[in-house]
Subunit: 241 residues, 2 copies
């Protein structure tokens, strides 16, 4: 029995799981809901022209001499000496055009895939429909990579992966149990997403730092229509999504 | 505000995730629902006196000269030259007293924790209540380690972890998002557990090998009352659970 020709969809619940998958020829969707990928989407939707994601603080500071705004966090707090942190509101201020960014999890996940994947795009609840439409238009295998927290699983990234898997159902062959598991989970909690995620470890960690508004913002669905894509070292909006 | 003194409960969705946790002084519960830990529980409940879990086929064959029954699988199939495979029915045949066992995932997970954890016990749906009661009686931190499939996440182990987390709620502090996520998932699918797991990758993989009866058996809840524990190199039943 021949399978109908469809691309495949897989989910990595942590960046380490990428090591089990050959990313050659595949589109990877990087997910760090609280807050890096939500913030990148929000910034690029609001006047930022490009973001350079870097893994190290030292790399980010190197760009500061080239008129870049330095942005990011470690352990949820703005890096000392940086211009701004990792709040979507800071990145949407429309004062900034060029941002260099490093975060505890999100930019590390980009680093883990950028040399092997065919394309790296940025996903969040804020641009869920736009990402869905783009992936459906490409007819390529897709791997959703959850950034997690310091290499570990987290709930909000996995739930977004489940939401995106459900949107892509029918157009993609689901591979692996992560698709099954996260999609069932998303279905069961989506009506109370914000309430349930208030019990998650990362929400509680960040709420203690006084950024609950950021998290509420990041859980809005389809607020923006842009899809950031990595072109060389730069994250820019895809044209005509 | 002081936390009420309670032990902690964490879940590793894959054996690799153990590297993020200090297991010192903690009880680890090894979970490989399809089929290693279910089969170990069933065998020890049915006349087997002890099981030696080993990581390598060569190690298992070494014991064959010492009157051990060699048991196990690689990629879901009985190892060539072994006496029996990894089916609970084979292990329950009551002909065998001493078994040496190696499997693709379950015995590897035991190997990953046995030198660092204070105690290693064996969990499955078949002995869910017995494991729950034992853990509640110990007042020690607990880590549930899902064996997964070749290092990757799988649905049935994660759902069991969620089921056990729910049983322990109130008596343990849940640490990490895995507890939140797997417990919600278990709650949402428990009425259709068998039906939903028929879509899981490992179920489909094993069903092709004609062992669907094994899987149906492994999803029975509380069929047995024993809790296997690793004592030295041997898995034996805990006394008086």
């Amino acid at each position: 029995m021949n399978k109908i020709q469809k691309p495949t969809l897989e989910i990595c619940l942590t960046p380490d799981a990428v090591s089990f998958i050959d990313l050659t020829g595949k589109i990877t969707v990087i997910v760090d809901i609280f807050r890096a990928t939500s913030t990148i989407v929000a910034g690029l939707a609001s006047g930022v022209t490009h973001v350079i994601p870097v893994a190290d603080i030292a790399d980010a500071l190197h760009y500061k001499t080239q008129d870049y705004v330095t942005a990011g966090e470690r352990n949820g707090e703005k890096v000392e000496g940086f211009d701004i942190g990792n709040s979507p509101f800071e990145h949407m201020a429309q004062e900034f055009k060029k941002i260099v960014m490093t975060t505890t999890n999100g930019t590390q996940a980009i680093e883990a895939v950028k040399n092997t994947a065919e394309q790296v795009i940025i996903g969040s609840f804020l641009n869920l429909r736009a990402v869905t439409n783009y992936l459906k238009s490409q007819n390529k295998d897709v791997v959703i990579v959850c950034a997690g927290w310091k290499g570990r699983f987290n709930a909000e990234d996995a739930l977004f992966a489940g939401a995106l898997a459900l949107k892509l159902k029918g157009d993609f062959w689901w591979e692996g149990d992560e698709t099954l598991f996260t999609s069932h989970s998303y279905t069961s909690v989506k009506k109370n997403l914000s309430k349930i995620l208030k019990h998650s470890s990362h929400y509680k960690r960040l709420a203690k730092k006084g950024v609950s508004d950021d998290m509420d913002f990041c859980l809005q669905i389809d607020k923006f229509k842009n899809v950031p894509v990595l072109e060389g070292d730069l994250l820019v909006n895809l044209e005509k999504v």
